[in-house]
Amino acid sequence: MKRIRTQVVPDDGVETAVPALEPLLIEIHEKGRAGRHVRGGDDAARAIPAEFARKAPLALPELTEPQVVRHFTHLAQMNYAVDTGMYPLGSCTMKYNPKVNDRVASLPGFADIHPTQPDDTVQGALALLFELERLLAKVTGMDAVTLMPAAGAQAEFTAILMFKAYHAKRGEGAKRRRVIVPDTAHGTNPASAAMCGYEVTTVKSDAHGNIDLAALKTALGDDVVGLMLTNPNTLGLFEERLREVCEAVHAVGGLVYGDGANMNALLGIARPGDLGFDCIHINVHKTFSTPHGAGGPGAGPLCVKTALEPYLPKPRIVRDAEGAYHRDTSGTDRWRGPGLGESIGQIRTFQGNFGVLVRAYTYMRTLGEEGLAEASNDAILAANYLLAQLRDSYEVAFDRPCMHEFVLSASRQKKQGASALDIAKALIDEGFHPPTVYFPLVVSEALMIEPTETEPRETLDAFAAAMIRIADRVKTDPASVKAAPQHAPLARLDEVSAARYPKLKWQRPT
């Protein structure tokens, strides 16, 4: 990667040359450069009264298209991506993102429709959403679905709001103030519970990597809203007493929320609805192949049992007796639904991340029943295959067959002089993106590994070989591992100064 020198102006106004991979847009700006994508409208200024008109400068960089294309192409080339290599990130399910999904999502019939168009004009879109809900209900063993949440975390928040409404309906709103999570829970779980005004009780895991049933029963009481549980859990393990766990929560009148981040282990293997869950969210950007988009967008459909259906957010997608589709209670159409009822309302604008949901639908229809079951089967096999190769070089957190992911501990390596973080950075030099590190919190020096079903066996073997090589290097020359990465576009970054003295935007040239 070529280094180039760039002029930057730091805070004290002194010009200093700083090496950078790529200049910022403001550094390749020149007054007078412009494209001609849209022109005209010069008379509009007359329509805006002087007191409202913009007097502040509009200091956006002035660039021409060739510069912009080169700039963003260079930026793209600095990125690791699924299209370039394997991501063994536990609980992220970085499987291949099919290109036909992208192509159909950009069909004008899907991309060029406005969310408040009359229902009559978007029957194809509504039919797709309606059918996607049915597919997800079948996969999860649930009864009703909302496709609105923009992400798993928003689905969690939606579900806990629904739990709140459910308990309030039964006159127990004031009584129930606590949500229980296991100590292996993803951070979004307690955060979502807190956003609903609830206290969070954390229950520890036992020596087998399950939620400790006895501790759970002690923590339960009639002041509990519910339990938020991931299954398989973030250790990659199927909860061995799952039905008893769910029964214990139900026995005190609580509800069980399923965090579906690990659904890639369960397609055609087991349905959360058969196991005791009252609802479950899906991350389509994990299980159903929609691209991660460097952090988003995704979508987080929420699938619920009939008892929770009345509280689902609106608008809901309905089909009338003539087979026409409508949005119930969106108020955008002449067709009037039965009203808000007990719905918790509208937890985001419009009906969901349609452009993402089209991709998920396309994937589910491409694979079909057999293909989805095969995906989970292969994901589980691939994870156990890697575990078999790595169990001698690293500590295994819990010695049980794993599902689609597993957790190693680099505690042995830590004693030898290099941490999980160092191992992660050394993997970059081996050409792999690191696995998830330091999560779940219950395993020290955690490395959470999920290969998914779309990595060829030779890639899995190469990853295992790289991990073993690094373990060997830690034994003989830990300093070299601590110095990684040496072959990435950048070496380790100074995150301390970035947090102490945040620079969150560029400096405008004087």
Binding site: K414, Y438, S444, V496, A499, R500
Partner: protein, 134 residues
């Protein structure tokens, strides 16, 4: 400079106290800042607010973690150290000096007796020193 100064008293949660009449200066110990790593931000209570012994009075943050600062004593905050808000690295470089956090007017001087002596604190961290962590 000793990492456990003799003229201070300590809490189990790794805060130190310098008592001067009914005013106590409070900070976190050398051991604590070492465990935390580079401190990037300190959140402190406002002047005039009340702190209760063993409750959280603020937060000290590293890049990847946030730890509560527990009040070793009860009282009213009469001063907060703005230097440590402007330059969080002082907590690492001068934990007992310019890295102090708040000055509190004590509600109950008797609480001082519940704190650890330097030698008790040394044993305390000697006990926990082997317990891993980053």
């Amino acid at each position: 400079m000793s990492t456990v100064p003799e003229d201070l008293r300590y809490s189990k949660e790794h805060e130190w106290v310098r008592a001067d009449g009914d005013v106590a200066t409070i900070g976190i110990t050398h051991f604590a800042q070492e465990q935390l790593g580079d401190v990037v931000f300190v959140e402190l209570p406002e002047k005039g607010s009340t702190v209760r012994q063993f409750s959280s009075l603020g937060v000290v943050e590293s890049v990847k973690a946030a730890s509560d600062i527990y009040a070793p004593l009860s009282g009213e905050v009469i001063e907060r150290n703005v230097k440590v808000i402007e330059k969080p690295e002082l907590v690492n470089t001068e934990p007992y000096g310019n890295g102090w956090m708040v000055k509190v007017r004590l509600a109950d001087k008797g609480e001082l007796n519940q704190l650890l002596s330097p030698s008790d604190y040394r044993s305390h961290i000697g006990e926990t020193a082997g317990a891993g962590g980053d």
